[in-house]
Amino acid sequence: MKSIVLNQVGVEVVADGTAGSKVLLSGISLTLTEQRVGVIGANGSGKSTLLRLLNGLMEPSTGKVTVKGKDTVRDVRSVRREVGFVFTDPLSQLVMPTGREDVELSLRRSIRNPHERRRTAESTLERFGLLPLADQSIYELSGGERQLLALATVLAVAPSVLVLDEPSTLLDLRNRELLRRTIAGLEQQVVMSTHDLDLVQDMDRVLVVDDGRIVFDGAPSAAVVHYRQLCAASLPPLPTPAVEEVRKPLEAHLGEYR
């Protein structure tokens, strides 16, 4: 059993200030078997909701989500051991003051022996080139180092699926490239939402989400074209530039002298 399956999934939440509910996702049916899956779409389109379903952080209102055959509601604890989740802002994910301590925190459940836990934490940090920064405060790390550390804390417990929610949003070009290379080298199945259309090109399959629905599902290049068209169609018409406002009367006025 190697796939993530969403069967007729819908998510509704109680909307603040109104009597009704708000539909975040509806009618989503997917089987994700590819090693690299990208999710793109506008802000508020439902990308994060879709990803949160995979780790059981959000429960579907209708339908069912399974990861490797395990129901994300009924077997949520087991699912969370399979599915690692990386948030956009690493500071909301890192709990301990330093990287070493945070990786060790991830390992507390699986490794009881403190010495063995320390060794495993160090080898995890070394794998990501973070060992020299292991004892630095997480506040003193750069954005890229923090995001790599967040990734390391999740991968320390060896999940088989990695879900990343816009991991490159807060990163500069260099750190984005670093993250891209790191993700490319992972053996885990990766499901990642992003606004970085370069990063999407590395994916095997890309989903375009709009208004809580999957409106395109296919190869990266075609998905990006579809997304661009969607964005262009949703933009309001440009306001008439001020120069246009005066050009016509001015030309008419000048015409009298020609």
Partner: protein, 207 residues
């Protein structure tokens, strides 16, 4: 959020006698300081206890600056408490109360400055193990301490950012502009932390 060392000092690597002291002794020391704050009735004894704790802090090699940074944030609060107690109960009592609080803060900072957090958490887990028979999960005790240590500097940082932003808008005298965003940020932080812990499977009971 920039404040990473607020109220409790982060671990400072070292080989001082306090670093090498067994964890149970350090726990006992902090517990004794807490207990003493109820039992000491003479301000001179409180001053002596504070001098002793400060001396131990300096012996640990954590330094005067860290000691001052740990104490500085509570000084305005202690000033208010001290003035109120002076008015209500007189100077000796006010001095004793303020000094006793400082003793507790310095003792707790000494513990966190000389003990790696993972060792501290292992100690908490060991101490909480007897409660397992009543259904308590020792790992949750440890996680609670870890989150507390993480949350204090975060919320302090939030307060500092909100204060700066209120200043920038000329609202530094408006309590609503200074307090409400901190409450909202704190609630959002609690929710994010909850999500992050849930996503990492931390805080769940063993199978």
């Amino acid at each position: 959020m920039s404040s990473s060392n607020f109220l409790l000092v982060n671990y400072v690597p070292g080989a001082s006698p306090i670093h090498r002291a067994p964890l149970w002794l350090k726990f006992l020391g902090v517990f004794a300081c807490g207990l003493a704050s109820f039992l000491i009735v003479d301000w001179a004894v409180s001053a002596g206890a504070l001098a002793l704790m400060c001396a131990l802090f300096l012996v640990s090699g954590a330094g005067v600056r860290r000691l001052f940074r740990a104490v500085r944030p509570v000084l305005p609060v202690l000033l208010v408490i001290g003035l109120f107690q002076w008015w209500q109960l007189g100077a000796p009592t006010a001095g004793r109360i303020v000094l006793n609080i400082l003793v507790c803060i310095v003792a707790a900072s000494l513990l966190t400055a000389t003990t790696p957090i993972q060792r501290l958490l292992d100690g908490v887990v060991s101490s909480a193990r007897p409660f397992q028979r009543f259904g308590a999960d020792p790992e949750r005790f440890a996680l609670t301490i870890a989150i507390m240590l993480r949350s204090i500097p975060y919320i302090a940082g939030a307060y500092s950012e909100v204060r700066d932003s209120a200043r920038a808008r000329g609202l530094e005298r408006n309590p609503r502009a200074r307090i409400l965003p901190v409450i909202i940020t704190t609630v959002a932080f609690a929710r994010q932390t909850g999500d992050a812990l849930a996503a990492r499977g931390l805080g769940e009971a063993d199978d």
